[in-house]
Symmetry: C2
Subunit: 320 residues, 2 copies
Amino acid sequence: VSDLAVGVDVGGTKVAAALVTREGAIVQTSRRPTTHTVTTPPGQATAVDILAAVTELIGERTDVPIGIGLPGMMTRRGVLAYAPNLPTANGGDFAALLNALRPGLVVSCANDADCAALAEHRLGAARGVDNFVMVTLGTGIGGGVVLDGKLVRGTNGFAGEIGHMVLDPQGPLCPCGARGCWERFASGAGIARLAREAAAAGRLPALVALRGGDAQSVRGEDVTTAAAEGSEEALAVIDEVAWWLARGVANLTAILDVGLVVLGGGLGDAADLLIPPARRALHGMLEGGDARPALRFERAQFAVEAGALGAAQLAFDAVQ
Amino acid sequence: VSDLAVGVDVGGTKVAAALVTREGAIVQTSRRPTTHTVTTPPGQATAVDILAAVTELIGERTDVPIGIGLPGMMTRRGVLAYAPNLPTANGGDFAALLNALRPGLVVSCANDADCAALAEHRLGAARGVDNFVMVTLGTGIGGGVVLDGKLVRGTNGFAGEIGHMVLDPQGPLCPCGARGCWERFASGAGIARLAREAAAAGRLPALVALRGGDAQSVRGEDVTTAAAEGSEEALAVIDEVAWWLARGVANLTAILDVGLVVLGGGLGDAADLLIPPARRALHGMLEGGDARPALRFERAQFAVEAGALGAAQLAFDAVQ
């Protein structure tokens, strides 16, 4: 039984790896940009990236287990079936690819948001909570659903694609092909879109002035930065995003009756801005009124490191 | 171990009981209208109804276990916490109420759609399927979620309120207080509403003529009857309802990746009309395209008897 594992978080822009103890302490990290090269078999270039990041941490040892969080729909067998942000890896079987590159490595794979859920469940904001949903805000919205203490995988392994719950069938087009997916409203892309809409409607005069009068160049970060500084016009956009965040959380609660929703991902301080108004909006959205105990809605303990930490937990599980 | 159980299905209009074998054969049934009387303790009048229905089947025996399906949010402890269609029973602890009336009765309680899910899982369309959602269409939409072979209860016991997933926040007001709940579009009430809208917009001329030219008096049943007879104008409304049905099913699939959705409830032949166009609409709504195996979407094996059959299974479980 190893006391160390490597957790790897693979994204569309970077591959980040961490050497981690069983208790979640990060000993060392490495990162590199993601290569987008079409290969046969699919995912070979990504596997080479992963191995390089791993080798930087543990050399050519094979007695340290490896966990990998991947950005897309993972089959129960561990194949990356659909990865819109890393299409060259579609169909990649990363345990097999890594083993072909370095025989003897013990490799486990999962969806990246599922890894984040595992990190929060074992080490973070959801310790001791049997029923919760992990919501990761980034460019889109990822999710991990834990019920009765176990990660929900679903029939194929594709459970947790909560960002593609449609909240408004007349809403903006999503790259997935549907209209009005949750992640079009409450995510990095959602903040950016609602910011542009507010700017075009004349509701962000100070931020538009900062951008030289061009409403279309107002960015999501402009809004979160100004909101953090107390700008009323920016806080109004944050309230709108928070309302949509709450709307999706309320839907998940109707279906699953989780007691806790953990908000994580790479949006950083935006999460702190969104949680208070989202909590206020949630009040009144949940069926049953006073008969239903309050839903807890908390920020994740871990930020960008959640994926690698959770992937390392996956690795420890594989060698237990 | 008893070879017989009584399953009771309590609704807002009737209390239906069935004496059932372990294999699901119905030996005898009884039914009576639901009494709506405010009592202390709450639910006392409903408990008297239930006991009368039970007594008609098994006299004063207490060696036959009783299962009860109730129309609302049930706590894990078995208390009916919120029942919009049976408000006099809000807060009722039916196991305790029945035991006060007839000491020694073994009583188990659950949400009625959860009972229907149990019936389909043990005896019906979902036998052998570990991950499925039961969707019951009636006036509203009820639900039961089974993952890894187990009914999902959630933190409080309130999981499965799928009809109150919001699909359009600008949509019609729901009695629950939200706007655009799924059950406002795809349910008995949804068919009725979309039928009135279509009639008012001049899209149902033949049915309006049948109702003496009054668009507002066109009913949901008019549409389902005409659609079953092949009326193009009625089938167009059915297609619209089916689209909304598919939209909700697609959301559940994004979140839970179930392999099967079972459509049941009291709408009878409407389900047969809705399933083919809903299947067509589903095609293309599910993220992942060809990477995702087809979702099965099937009619329930049981109709109105599903609640009592599932409640009886609950009763058998309690004495195993």
